[in-house]
Structure formats: structure tokens, C-alpha cells
Amino acid sequence: MALSNVLHAPAAGFNFDHAARNAELEGLFDAQIPKPVKTGTTIAGVVFKDGVVLGADTRATSSEIVADKMCSKIHYIAPNIYCCGAGTAADTEKTTELLSSNLTIFSLNSGRNPRVVMAVNILQEMLYRYHGQIGASLILGGVDCAGNHLYTVGPYGSVNTMPYLAMGSGDLAALGILEDGYKPDLELDKAKELVRAAIHAGVMNDLASGNNIDICVLTREGVDHIRPYQVSQYKDKRKTKYKYGAGTTAVLTEKVVPVKLEVVEETVQRMDTA
């Protein structure tokens, strides 16, 4: 059905038509508005001797309710770059997917693995363009031809690089552990233990972080995404499937009765096999 008030095609990209309506509705439906799912979270990263270790918890909250107990916050960007995301869950998810697509196009065009600074620049430009409306705080870690890198990009487009970083609502707790335990050129086990302890501090001291801890180790040889690295001791014991194996219930007696069949009518129908 063609409308006579549409005089040019709608512009692609973000559509702000409902901004005024939403502003009007602001105060009316406070209790019933669904809150966006935030990965209110603890994420941390540490540069060690052979690469980078990233860690994250797995809780996603929607104001006071835990929306997802096994949320994956360590996103794939490139074979040599991974990214932890804190903030609004959808924003981190989509932003990292867009970044990953752009870097894939680049590697297909140039035949090279992308560098971490490219990822950081693309993210910074994208997030600055939207002036913080995209609520994504990200920690990018990767190994490329220039070494091991760890960067953080804030929601307004700020970039920071340090050998150890933490973001999210539990970042203060995690930073305390990192500040205390970090040394340059750590070994792999010590680095994993440091990141685990940092995330654990966030899990214990922050309401919006919890459940399991995931770790991702990036080295020149490859990536080891350990999901989960540490399982929460308050794991839910309810089963999701109720399938019981044979032998669960004991058999008391068994009686076999063969069923006798009588032939009532027999017809033969020729099949044409020609």
C-alpha cells in the first residue's frame, strides 16, 4: 500500500523519530519499563611474558535481577585479538561484532592478521562519533607482529594502555589485586592466577559480578579460551534435562506375553516393475 506522505526514502542508520515520544513517556511508565541488560561486571587483563591473559565474570544483570548466569563476555575479534566487554550487553555485543567484521574484511583484502592498534582506532572512532550513547567499555588484548598489547576503550572514546587493566563495576576491587600482584614478565601460571584472583575479588565485593570466571590466554602460538576457568561454589544444582539412564529404577518382576496374530484376509497386488 503506497503512502502519499512518504516523499523520500528513509535514511539508513540510527532513526531518531521516536526521541520526542520517548521523552514524553519518560515519567509515565517507570515501574514497567524493562531495564537494559548490563554486563555490570568485572573484566581484567594482564600482559605477561609470552602474551596476554584476559579474564571476566559471567553475570549479566537487568537492574536487580540476574538476567544471565553464563554470559560470555570475552568476544572474538580476530584470530589474534580478543575483547572483554562491560556496559550495556547489546552494545558491547554489536560493537565487537562490527569491529570483527571490519577487521575480517581488512584481512581478506590485505592477507594479514590485523594489528591491535587498528582495532583500537576503529573502536575509538566509532564510540566517539556517538558521544557515549553506546555504553560499551572494552578491554582489548592481542598478540601481533609488534608484540603483546592490552588496551582499554571507554564509552566516550577514550583509550588507555597499561600492562594490567580492569573495567566494569567491580574494577576497583580487581585493580587492588592487580596493583598488588603485578610484576613485569610474569609466567603463564602466575598470570592466570593473578587474573583469576582479580576477577574473584570483583565477584566477591561487587553485586553485579558473579557466577563463573572465564579466562582467555592469547599467545603467539594460539588462543586458549577456558570457559569456565573457575566455577562458582553456589552453582545451581537443578537439572535442565530430566533424562534417566537405563537401570535407574529397579525391576521387581517381569512377565512376557506373546501377542498372537491371526491372518484374516490376504490380497495380492502386482507391482509394475517395468
Binding site: M1, A2, L3, S4, N5, V6, L7, H8, A9, P10, A11, A12, G13, F14, N15, F16, A19, A20, A23, E24, L98, S101, N102, I105, F106, N109, M126, R129, Y130, H131, Q133
Partner: protein, 207 residues
């Protein structure tokens, strides 16, 4: 990227604009809206995907030259058109048939903080890039590039059909990157379809 000032070229183009059209755009300081009866038409024609339509502007009392000779700076929109204070029908009154009755309360509504900056994003980016290029390589470089853009912008389907904009995308470098404008609100999948005759007439300025 370093932002270098390219005042020379922009001032030059602004003077051209003034003498060709003989019309001065005034800014109302209180409302930050541009007052001009014909502004609606100017805003429409500033859309980058419009083809050149010199031959059809015979009904205008002014010289029938199209707006394409403007520099990039004049294409930046400094406000979102607000219907109540700057009526967009002919003769400066609200077109009740198409846009309904006007009401100041309905029109003075807050817009999104990003609305204006998103509308101006492409012209701003182009302006910055062209002025940097002009400072590095001289005047010929942006002129040649803009000539190519003008040519590519004319490769369009009729207004009610979605155009692929392939040449324009390749020139801009958008064929190698994916952004929100490729994912959200794809015009090819828009649920609203315009009446074809009206859209073509509007495009040609006959409406």
C-alpha cells in the same frame, strides 16, 4: 588526522553562492532556526543522492540554477527542521492536507542529542578531508575528487526504488567497511512505500 583550516576555498565558494542566488540566509538567534520561505526546498535538494535537475526548474521566479554549486560548508544543517515555526508548505503556511493541523505544543519537542551530529556527519567528514587534502596537495585534488562525487551521485534509480550507490560507496571507501548504516534501517527493507508519482514529482521539484 590533523585538522587544517581551509578558509581560502570555503570563503571563495560562499561568495559564489551569494551572487548566484542573491538570497541571504538569516539566523534567528533565539530559536536557532533558519528563516527562509524557500528553505524547505533547499533542504530537500541538498540531499546528496538527488540527480541534477536543471531543466525542470522553470516554475521558479528566481534563476533556475540548482543548488549544486554550494560548498560543503553550506550543506551542513544547523538545525532539525521544526514544522511549527518554519512551516514547510508552499507560501509559508502549514500544508494541512499532507502533514495535518499544526500545533506549537506538538512541534516544540526535544530531539535526540545525536540527531544533528549524525545528520551532519558525512558532510563534516568530507569537509575536513577535503580541506586537509587541499592544504597538502593543492586545489586540484579536492576539485577533481568532488567532480567524481558529483558524477557518481547522479547514478541513481528513480526515487521510489532503492539505489545501490555502488560508485559512491567505492569512492568514499564505504565498500570495505560495515557500519550501523548498513545494518539498521536498511532502505531496501523499509516497511513504508511511497507513492511513486508523488515521489518523482517531489524529487523534480514539481510538488
Amino acid at each position: 588526522m590533523v585538522v587544517l583550516k581551509g578558509y581560502g576555498m570555503l570563503r571563495h565558494s560562499r561568495t559564489i553562492m551569494r551572487t548566484a542566488h542573491g538570497r541571504i540566509i538569516q539566523r534567528a538567534s533565539k530559536y536557532r532556526i533558519v528563516h527562509d520561505v524557500d528553505l524547505y526546498r533547499m533542504f530537500r535538494i541538498e540531499n546528496a543522492t538527488q540527480p541534477d535537475v536543471r531543466v525542470f526548474r522553470t516554475e521558479s521566479a528566481r534563476d533556475g540554477i540548482t543548488m549544486n554549486s554550494r560548498g560543503l560548508r553550506s550543506q551542513l544543517k544547523d538545525s532539525v527542521p521544526v514544522a511549527g515555526l518554519c512551516p514547510q508548505g508552499a507560501y509559508g503556511i502549514q500544508d494541512c492536507l499532507r502533514s495535518g493541523f499544526s500545533s506549537v505544543k506538538n512541534e516544540l519537542l526535544p530531539s535526540h542529542p545525536l540527531e544533528l551530529s549524525e545528520k551532519n556527519f558525512q558532510p563534516n567528514k568530507d569537509k575536513m578531508n577535503f580541506s586537509t587534502l587541499r592544504n597538502i596537495q593543492g586545489l586540484h585534488a579536492p576539485l577533481k575528487l568532488q567532480m567524481e562525487y558529483r558524477a557518481a551521485r547522479q547514478i541513481q534509480r528513480l526515487p521510489f526504488l532503492p539505489s545501490s550507490n555502488l560508485a559512491l560507496d567505492t569512492l568514499r571507501g564505504n565498500d570495505e567497511s560495515i557500519g550501523f548504516e548498513d545494518i539498521l534501517c536498511d532502505p531496501a527493507q523499509s516497511e513504508m512505500m511511497g507513492e511513486p508519482h508523488l515521489m518523482v514529482e517531489y524529487n523534480l521539484g514539481l510538488l
